[in-house]
């Protein structure tokens, strides 16, 4: 083959690669727009008047932007209180799940007692029992503990996450060789020191991912907060938002405004923990 032909073939190959790349870009772009559009509409609807909201075709940028919906939501409902409840609930639940998962996952992965296998099997078994099955007994428990309508009541069902224990156990097995712990034991480290100074730092990635999953699990929880919180002040934001949908009407303007406000903490957290979240989804194979 002459040099010129070879050059031409190389150019053709390069062109084809560029075209394929651009094609993929276009498809991904279209899909991301389709995914983003509802969020954009949600925010823009918050700024629309009721008439404009029902107008066809819908507008992305409101013709007469108004903050009435936001003002109404903030005045008529304890929205900020609900957000506060949700944030406290989600943060405490995340911390509790991180603590319980890392301790249990590490012990189940690295300590060899036959009874631990049984415990691990039980932990896995709880993962296949739907929450709805033990929701009611748990409610009575919360009631007898006198923690209904409180953060502690909300937390009762969200302290331990069997999937988190499983995730950490697998991570410990895969990323922390026994020799590392043995080396530390010979070096003179006690078990607590090993856990805090060696195991936890090495699990940072997995704990970050689990933290994000746990946070959003609590943040989006609906059924349990719904039954454990019976007065308006104790609602979480998910339960509060549902109030805008009554049996007969949906107050779209206020619902949009409230939802837009609620998005702020979620988006902030996502931006901060973006890398962990992607890693978490990649390492767990979960789509949330």
């Amino acid at each position: 083959m002459s040099d010129r032909e070879a050059n031409r073939a190389a150019t053709r190959r390069r062109m084809r690669r560029v075209l394929v790349d651009r094609g993929i870009d276009v498809v991904l772009m279209v899909f991301s727009l389709l995914m983003l559009l509802p969020l954009v509409f949600l925010v823009s609807n918050g700024f629309k008047t009721p008439q404009e909201m029902l107008a066809w075709p819908p507008t992305i940028i409101p013709a007469n932007p108004t903050t009435d919906n936001f003002a109404a939501v903030l005045q008529d409902t304890p929205l900020l209180r609900w957000i506060f409840n949700s944030v406290v609930f989600a943060v405490l639940s995340t911390l509790a799940i991180l603590a319980t998962s890392s301790i249990a996952g590490y012990i189940l992965a690295k300590f060899r007692y036959r009874s631990l296998n049984v415990i691990f099997a039980l932990v896995l078994a709880t993962a296949i029992v739907p929450f709805e099955v033990y929701m009611i007994p748990l409610y009575f428990q919360a009631q007898s503990l006198g923690i209904l309508n409180s953060i502690w009541g909300l937390l009762l069902g969200y302290l331990v996450m069997s999937f988190g224990i499983f995730l950490i156990r697998q991570n410990v097995i895969h990323s922390i060789p026994d020799e590392l712990l043995e080396a530390a034991r010979i070096d003179g480290a006690g078990e607590l020191w090993i856990f805090f100074r060696i195991v936890l730092p090495l699990l940072r990635g997995a704990l970050g991912a689990l933290g994000v999953l746990a946070f959003f699990q609590a943040w989006t929880a609906f059924a349990w907060p719904m039954i454990v919180a019976t007065n308006r002040e104790a609602y979480t934001i998910e339960v509060g938002l549902a109030l805008f949908q009554t049996g007969f009407t949906v107050d779209l303007g206020r619902l949009s405004a409230a939802s837009a406000i609620v998005l702020i903490p979620s988006i902030t957290l996502f931006v901060i923990l973006r890398r962990n979240f992607v890693q978490g989804v990649a390492s767990t194979g979960l789509k949330e």
Partner: protein
Amino acid sequence: MAAVEIRNVAKSFGPTDIIRNVTVEVPDGAFVVLVGPSGCGKSTLLRMIAGLEDIDKGEISIGGRVINDVEPKHRDIAMVFQNYALYPHMTIAENMGFSLRLARQSKKEIEERVQEAARILGLSEYLHRYPKQLSGGQRQRVAMGRAIVRQPQVFLFDEPLSNLDAKLRVQMRGELKDMHARFKTTTIYVTHDQIEAMTMADLIVVMRDGVVEQIGTPLDLYDYPANMFVGSFIGSPAMNFLKGAVRQVNGQQVFETGSGFRLPLHAAAAAPDGLMATLGIRPEHLSLSRAGEGLAGRIVTIEPTGSETFVVLQLGEDRISALLRQRLTASVGDELWLAPQLDTTHLFDSATTKRLTGS
């Protein structure tokens, strides 16, 4: 420094006996290599010395102190693992100083000792890097450095060179020997590689199936293997074994192979006539001979390496290999006559596999 005594030690995992009644004395300051095929229990024995496995029976003492129930950290040992076991989230300096930090040494003391170990091992410029930024050989050196800074009574090495490439392995072998010569710390080293054992050890302990087969200096094991297993395990290429019987021919004791060849036995052989025996001949102790002298067989393989030629012959049902100093003009299928040097053959009792030749 301290002597290590292992007395009648046994260990089993469930119904499987891993270590059976092992007794080894490691002299103060010696470099002792535990060698044997995988699963022979050598690593388990080392881990028992380190305190990472319980001792079911028997006693282990370091420097005269029985350490059966002493925690690993109080045994005054340092261990180097096959996969280095460096803490990935700590710098090299932190890795090396970790044990000193736990022992609450002063910052200055830690830094001095880490610097000194790093200087010896040529790691001074890497102290602020992380393990993943170093090559395999450098990581191995860090692992050694971590052991050195503790100034322990005993160094334990668990196949430390297995993860390195061949060239680096030879280099690190030399460095380990240098290190031992410098510190004179009692060292127990586990490997499955008999070359490592031969080149590094003052004393080799050959193990099989949880039992010590022989203890001796490298050349002792090579020259006087106690049984067929040690004979085949020590030395490379492996020893040839020919089955046959001891006979009396013209007033002289000879070994008659299954395929009818007769090889004279040296006077020290202490075997009754008619005994079913196995003759061990190392490939490097065979040399070309005249037709009718020694053994003859058809060439199956010829591997010239330049300095020497490795040939495999088929003798009836037996196959023997030979490492010849000269080059061969013969080719595969040709007949070749080889004769062993008389004083280097090893006679084993076929029934017990034990050595018969008087030593």
